[in-house]
Subunit: 301 residues, 2 copies
């Protein structure tokens, strides 16, 4: 079993996680949550989303959150932007690392950003051109890369084509996302084997949700295909407001625990992550889908 020695985590809890919480989390608590994450050893955090407040009310305080967090210079603070307007707002907030999203599935993309896939890609092309002019970091997320909640299984050829197009634009990172948590480890291995063979300059990352309980098995499959960067959210926060039935992201502390148990370095402190789980659970007041925060007398190696 071939595994990497080191893995990097992108914490997406404050964005992909919190955007699904029904009750508004006070801005100060979001800021405190991101500040606590900054002390776990995590070096990349998706902090918020400059999306229209009407569509994702939880993120209506994007500007205040981004301005309010204590920015550790060793950490990359990323913001998601759905369109050019979001880009302008994020730029005004001094964001330097952007997550852009487009769905591999046409129908999902229409639900997610009310544009067809090709139109979305063209919008992103324009944003990328501007952002590169500003020397910004671009993370290009391909949503529903495995399954679409509306169309079913996604043709891997579409994802490969999108990876090649993003690479040609010179993006820094390409995230292959199982937005609804429906992929299986064999499918994950097969797609990532093909994606890794493209040998992009952009770092490839993997994004899993745990709807069917397969997220950690999918992380294993992606690791075996050579992936060394993973999105995850503290506690397993998350879901997708535009993907019916999607459960939370794979829990950061579960991924980090599994990696450490296998001798893979992350630079992240599991007990600090567990404190972050408690901190955000005080506001969400619901059961999280992560596993190890429920273990009594947790033993870590």
């Amino acid at each position: 079993m071939s595994l990497p020695k080191k893995v990097e985590i992108v914490e997406v809890g404050p964005r992909d996680g919190l955007q699904n919480e029904a009750n508004f989390i006070p801005t100060d608590e979001k800021i405190a949550f991101i500040n606590a994450i900054s002390k776990t050893g995590i070096k990349r955090v998706e902090t918020t989303s400059f999306v229209h407040p009407q569509f994702v009310p939880q993120m209506r305080d994007a500007q205040e959150v981004f301005a309010g967090i204590h920015q550790d210079p060793s950490i990359q603070y990323i913001a998601l932007i759905p369109n050019e307007k979001g880009y302008e707002r994020a730029l005004a907030s001094n964001v330097q690392a952007f997550s852009l999203v487009v769905g591999a599935s046409e129908t999902f993309n229409l639900h997610n950003v009310r544009m067809g896939r090709e139109e979305s890609i063209r919008v992103l092309d324009r944003i990328i051109a501007k952002a590169k002019g500003n020397d910004s970091f671009i993370r290009y997320c391909i949503a529903t890369s495995f399954w679409c909640p509306f169309e079913g299984k996604v043709d891997p050829a579409i994802v490969l084509e999108m990876v090649k197009r993003a690479e040609a634009l010179g993006v820094d990172e390409i995230a292959i996302c199982d937005t609804i948590g429906r992929a299986n480890p064999k499918q994950v291995f097969e797609i990532f084997e093909k994606v890794m063979a493209i040998n992009t300059q952009a770092v490839i990352s993997a994004h899993f949700h745990d709807t069917y309980g397969l997220a950690l098995a999918n992380v294993m499959a992606a690791l075996q295909a050579g992936v060394t960067r993973f999105d995850a959210s503290v506690g397993g926060l998350g879901g997708c407001p535009f993907a019916p039935g999607a459960a939370g992201n794979v829990a950061t502390e579960d991924v980090v625990f599994m990696l450490h148990e296998m001798g893979i370095e992350t630079g992240i402190d599991v007990s600090a992550l567990l404190s972050c789980v408690k901190q955000i659970q005080a506001f969400t007041k619901r059961e999280f889908t992560g596993h190890i925060h429920k273990v009594k007398a947790l033993q870590t190696t």
Copy 2:
């Protein structure tokens, strides 16, 4: 990624699962549960345990359960026995397939059956000699093959030695068990790779619990090492009364779903399994650790 075409499931819910339920499940309900499992396509069921009622009161009706179930001739109904007295009681109940258990860890074995490991092995030797005289099926379970709740990580050399000794006795199946759900996929792959290399006549099976959320990832690792038989329990029932902190077994419906998604045959009907989850949940009245029974609008391929 090399995977088998076909996998066999041993349903251990009625035994390993129910033995951990605090409230006594009425005998008729246990019988109805096993009869329902018999209609899912599962061909091997661990039905009960002929253990001393003082130690596992939930199993005090072993005789009535075994006598009461409708025995489908295409299904193997297994009973666990901890010692010679249990063997005699099971034999009197016309049991023809036996699960024997011994811990790879000395301390766990003392807690589990109040005997040292070597003494346990000698007791099992005598039972196996008798049972083989009766042409019975013997399943030899090596508990705490990866981690012991008292001693920590278990030396794989002990497990390999125990596998060789069991094989020399001519047992039919050897189950390598992660009794507390603490193994990681790398460890699982490495141990099973060595166990499979022994090339036993006995079928090797893998038994995982989901304490740290790694059970399905561990199933994947064992599959990749060549294992084609897995223990699982409906809903993720289970734990271990003598292993503090252990969560339920990997959920049968989660394993079967994952296998089917990857095109691996099991002969088992996922929706029939989900009915079994509902059936037993009506009595246990608690959340199960399995995943797919919680998915709204479950899509299966």
